[in-house]
């Protein structure tokens, strides 16, 4: 048997059900690995001291015969997902001492299954970034290459799962924050259809873009987590009831938007061609799709995200919770608290959002971006009349080195393939597509498969075949 911390959810669950191992065994195996390696990786901001107590309760549940596939499974939880009574800081000085007053709906639902919450993981502050270097508490490192970033913003959860410091992980995805770190760390990252999972209790960034997502060692594991948490929730009015979107007839065709592949490095392109061939071997026809607006998705995304995040972050005023500093008057209190509590990238985005939404610029930026976003959704819906999925690489590059991208715009450009499903609200998954060699290191890459609204199950089934998990 492999070391218990290296098990997938599916494997651990089988062994737990047959009582060959206990949840305490697997939880402590993860904790021991954390003690050994997390000094170097820094995936966790806090390992919960009640993890073993939770595991014992799960073992009771298994003994009582009321277990599910997630009972007793230790999970790494991104630091922007609220767990009642635990700190939730979004890796920001602003919320360094904030204690969650309620459970996020995803946590409530996982609790019902008896999942074990192992600890809270590092991230880019308020989920703003693609490398986890923007954390106020220091960066996380890629377990495959410690000089490199794990991706972000859910970099801590990705590194925890890839480094076997947890059995599965939870993230959130606003523009690729689950899929990009999954690709950089060689694991599976899934962003479901917008509205399929409640956002209640997730610290908001861009509310029309944010979605919860699982980060796992297999596609089957991602599906297990998603099935446990999905479904309409009265606490999130954008969460959807079943059957909102129509089922689509299967075409067995996958579209590739060749027009945006121009700048790809040859090794990344070769890896992507191999992924296409793998789908071909499974009976899919690969066709070129012409989606002209894909060239503008980064502009559309960044305008909408700046606007929505500056709006969402206006709630931090140093009065009700969070960091509080005194200024000369009330307005001065706000400015001092926000000036000190938010890090460089967060303040940059708030300023850009405020500019974009200000009178005189609103129409030129935000108005146009919203109009273009609608056109993009229409273009994708039309394309999906004749294809089942759109396939792209998850990222244009493998994991880069810490400190390599100092200019904010160059960091934004790595999101070229991942922002589109957030803009359209469509489901997308990053599946490991092998490694490429760079400077003597073998670095993972991912293939991204995008499906129409509500076709999450078909997407997961295709991904499972790609990953060789089913025939």
């Amino acid at each position: 048997m492999k070391p218990l911390n290296e098990l997938s959810i599916t494997e651990a669950s089988t062994l737990l059900a047959s009582r060959e191992i206990s949840s305490v065994d697997v939880t402590n195996a993860c904790r021991e690995e954390i003690a050994k390696r997390d000094g170097d990786i820094h995936a966790y901001l806090e390992v919960f001291d009640d993890a073993e107590t939770q595991a014992k309760m799960a073992d009771e549940k298994i003994k009582a015969g009321s277990a599910s596939a997630l009972t007793g499974i230790p999970l790494a939880v991104k630091d922007n997902i609220l767990i009642k009574g635990k700190k939730a800081s979004a890796a920001s000085k602003m919320l360094e001492n904030y204690t969650a007053t309620y459970d996020a709906t995803v946590i409530t639902r996982l609790r019902e299954h008896g999942a074990v919450f192992l600890g809270r993981t590092n991230m880019d502050e308020f989920a703003m970034g693609g490398s986890t270097e923007n954390s106020a508490f220091g960066p996380t490192r890629n377990p495959h290459a410690l000089t490199r970033v794990p991706g972000g913003s859910s970099g801590g959860s990705a590194a925890a799962v890839a480094g076997h410091l947890a059995i599965g992980g939870l993230g959130t995805d606003t523009g690729g924050s689950v899929r990009e770190p999954a690709a950089f760390c060689g694991i599976v990252g899934f962003k479901p259809t917008y509205g399929s999972v409640s956002r209640s209790g997730l610290i908001a960034m861009g509310s029309s873009l944010d979605q919860w997502g699982p980060m796992t060692k297999s596609v089957t594991d991602a599906e297990i987590l998603w099935n446990a948490v999905k479904g309409n929730d009265p606490l999130d009015s954008t969460s959807l009831p079943e059957g909102v979107y129509p089922k689509r007839a299967e075409t067995k065709k996958i579209g590739v938007p060749m027009s945006i592949m121009g700048g790809l490095d040859s090794s990344v392109m070769e890896n992507f061609q191999a992924a296409q061939k793998k789908f071909k071997d499974q009976g899919y026809e690969i066709v070129t799709v012409d989606l002209e607006l894909l060239k503008k998705v980064l502009s559309i995304y960044y305008i909408i995200m700046f606007a929505e995040s500056s709006t969402n972050l206006s709630r931090f005023d140093g009065v009700r919770y969070g960091l509080s500093r005194q200024g000369s008057d009330l307005i001065g209190d706000y400015a001092a608290s926000r000036g000190e509590g938010f890090g460089t990238e967060v303040r940059r985005r708030i300023l850009l959002g405020t500019y974009i939404l200000s009178a005189g610029y609103y129409d030129a930026y935000y108005g146009k971006a919203v109009a273009s976003r609608k056109e993009l959704v229409a273009d994708f819906n039309k394309a999906f009349e004749s294809i089942d999925f759109v396939l792209t690489p998850t990222t244009p590059v493998p994991a880069f080195k810490l400190g390599e991208k100092t200019d904010p715009l160059s960091m934004y450009l790595t999101d070229i393939f991942t922002v589109t499903p957030n803009l359209t609200g469509m489901p997308a998954i990053s599946i490991p597509s092998g490694t490429i060699e760079k400077e003597g290191e073998h670095l993972p890459l991912g293939a991204q498969l995008i499906a129409p609204h509500g076709m999450d199950e078909r997407l997961l089934n295709a991904a499972k075949r790609f990953a060789g998990e089913v025939k």
Partner: protein
């Protein structure tokens, strides 16, 4: 061109203090980022793009969502300054 003064003005609107050096850095970044994102174009008239997107309002019935004071203690524990069961805020109206 975005100047240091522009950034300072935006920072006032955003209720954030920024130093002069920071304002200069942000001005440079904003220039670069905004000239990139302005390529958004958009063939429709901006006014066609209403902010409501594809979402509709979902309302709940009026009623008591939870028992009284169920969260009061936890919420007050997070507040920087409290008195009895209240959060202390600074005086808003001042004498000229």
């Amino acid at each position: 061109m975005i100047s240091r003064e522009d950034v300072k003005k935006i920072a006032t609107l955003a209720r954030i203090t920024v130093s002069d050096t920071e304002a200069d850095t942000y001005a440079g970044d904003a220039e670069e980022i905004l000239s990139f994102v302005v390529q958004v174009g958009g063939t429709s008239s901006p006014h066609e793009g209403d902010a409501h997107m594809l979402l509709t309002n979902v309302m709940r019935e009026d009623g008591v969502p939870h028992e009284e004071a169920a969260y009061t203690k936890d919420i007050l524990d997070n507040a920087p300054k409290t008195e009895n069961d209240y959060i202390v805020v600074r005086k808003v109206i001042t004498k000229e």
